[in-house]
Symmetry: D2
Subunit: 244 residues, 4 copies
């Protein structure tokens, strides 16, 4: 986060090194690639924040959003490798568990990155499901005006057409009509799809990542490649496994 004040609000403690805040670039290359090229420090973006920010960035950049309600579904690896009662296999298996229905810390990063045309109104909650890797973010975006799917397509294509790790996924039929983390395990992709509600201004945006890749080490390697002038895709071209 860029602000020591907001850090305190969301993390309930003082920021340890406020003097370093302006030396760090927020670690999502699709938003900050140019700055990363000359940066000495890049922070790692939160996994949930990455899935949501990439899904919504083109819309917020256009200034067409009124507010967004986001529900992310997350696997157990998101909590790290420290054992706890809640990660005990007999307990964690079959679970569909709300944690921090309100005031989740990643909300702060999301608001920071999406406040491109005034402060973004973001309502975020997360649910732990029986999965090891993977995040699916379902964003209910209320648009200021009614916009059709063709226009939405164009906005996403303009924003991401040259991005090596963003794919727009929207099929008429088949099993994978919308993004799914299952086919992204081990990859650095963020898949994004959407569906417009014909009866209202609501646009549902669905985004998927592997939280340990595009949500953590994969994105860090991508940033590292940019900082050092390497091909951005170096060591990140694993296409995934199926079925799994």
């Amino acid at each position: 986060m860029n602000s020591a004040e907001l850090y305190k609000k969301w993390y309930k403690e003082e920021h340890a090194s406020p003097d370093l805040l302006d030396k760090f670039i927020y670690g999502i290359p699709e938003l900050h690639r140019e700055k990363m090229k000359n940066a000495d420090f890049v922070s790692s973006a939160g996994c949930n924040a990455t899935a949501v920010i990439l899904a919504l960035y083109p819309l917020y950049k256009e200034g067409i959003v009124e507010k967004t309600i986001v529900e992310v579904k997350v696997g157990s690896s998101e909590a790290g490798n420290t054992v706890s009662d809640s990660s005990h296999h007999p307990i964690r298996t079959n679970c569909v568990r709300s944690f921090m229905p309100t005031h989740h810390r990643h909300t702060a990063e999301i608001i920071q990155e999406l406040s491109l045309n005034g402060e973004a109104e973001i309502h975020f909650s997360a649910t732990a499901i029986d999965l090891v890797r993977g995040i699916l973010a379902t964003s209910h975006v209320f648009l200021k005006e009614n916009i059709d799917e063709k226009k939405i397509w164009q906005i996403y294509r303009d924003a991401y057409k040259d991005e090596p790790f963003i794919r727009i996924v929207k099929e008429q039929d088949g099993l994978y009509r919308y993004p799914e983390p299952k086919i992204l395990f081990g990859t650095n992709y963020c898949d994004i799809g959407f569906e417009k509600d014909p009866d209202s201004n609501r646009l549902v945006v669905i985004s998927a990542i592997d939280n340990l890749m595009k949500g953590a080490s994969g994105q860090a390697v991508q940033a590292f490649n940019i900082m050092h002038g390497f091909d951005e895709k170096t060591s990140l071209e694993f296409p995934g496994l199926h079925p799994i």
Copy 2:
């Protein structure tokens, strides 16, 4: 559904027996118990619809809701026992799959039952997860006015204090602070919890059921018991298994 016209809107076909519509009571006892006592026909409520309607009924009855965005997470048994490509174990395992992000049929039932003070504005989507039984519904309720949690407690308690199958679940600590379908497998309970966002008028309501029990046959047996004057809990007292 009570209306042949709305049926056609949501199901994209003519209702087969519009003349029977006013003979059937909608099958959620907590809303229609008195009518069921003398009814000859009770319809089975949809499983997703049951989880959502029971979560929101007390709030809509009070007339305090502006609009609600609902995200349900559902297991594979919801799709029935007919085999399909999408239910094939290598495909269905590990999946986090959006289906009908907009225009899900159960929306119609939810709107019908919650339009107690004007037409309810409900935005609904469902995500299939790697689970056999169980539904968790996360409802983001935007209240007309800011109301504190104590008042919300009172509203739920007043509405459900005598209900044998509704439990309000809201703990300060422990593993099961909010409702979870995992501990409801095989039971007829609907567990409901909530958390108020301190920064906005948003109230997150979390409800859980076993889709094959309170979402299907269990609720049908409950209605049957009421119709015939039996103890409403007859054959429905299984308390659940843990861990599972």
Copy 3:
């Protein structure tokens, strides 16, 4: 176990209370019901041991077995509710893990109970799989002489025909032709099936239990009922859930 000497061999430490050994009845009612009726102390039988002993007891009683190789597949609840690195959900999920391929402690109980006609030769190993509840034991029994399936049927029927919690499962078709722990979650049943290899003296005996019920507390309640003269089935009549 009945012997302090064998206890030391298998558990690698001295028995804490050798003087109590002859006061305890080994806790499987199907083998020791009469003694339990007047017993003050009944020990809890091991979960793996229960699944194997019940599967093999009728054959060893007949004195027709040369030796047996047993492979049990077990869920994570068998390890108890103490958290450990090996029970961490990201690690334990998808695992198929051998533990103690030789010298598993439960072997001692199995040998003790099956040495009805000379010392039983038992080779035992266990594999942890991605399951919370349940044990499936596959016993490869090498018979002294070739015996046909009809005779095997008769032996099992004679041994278990009056047992309330033993079911012989052996179907020509359908999904549940052999025992499976999946349909026993929460029940006190031990299901037993078998298939004779037409080309050798090998008989494969398959047995399933819920390790937390017939393998632990369920069997303890059954023994308690016997000790106190209650109906043996009291509080143990849950028939199971399906699907799950």
Copy 4:
């Protein structure tokens, strides 16, 4: 299989092309690499057969085995991508299901390849578990004479020391002391470990593969590389994902 006669015994039908039998090389490179170099046709080895043959080949080559009882644990992808009642997610989840406890077809391949010093006595059974990819084979090998683990090590090292896809896994501590399919998803490795029973001539050999890789297409690519003079590891160097 090399024999039309044995084919009929195990598959219960006539072989469709007995004239082609001697034109095909059995598709496990570790056993038939030299012949593959000049072969026009290589058959694909069965997935279970591959896991078992690679585990036992060094021992049978030495002529030190009396007989072997094998229990394989397999995932759902082994049954292919055709939907069936038994692959329906609500049914297949949580299952621990015996299929063909005796007379499994893969037994024929195993006997064929291991009959290097007289006909191999192999007793095979398979159990389906809740897993998509992966096979763990637990082989209970009864040795003709008591041989210590050091000698067993030497036999495996001599047989496989130059093999790019065979790894001997045997650790004193840690979570992965024995082979596990979980860490092999997507890789072409066959991991092999063992433990000698100090009280008998039994040696437990544990082997793991990804059934869709070393058990199917991966091994086919490996054979293809050999037939065409390519580096044997071409396109097969994916090291796996963890956790998953």
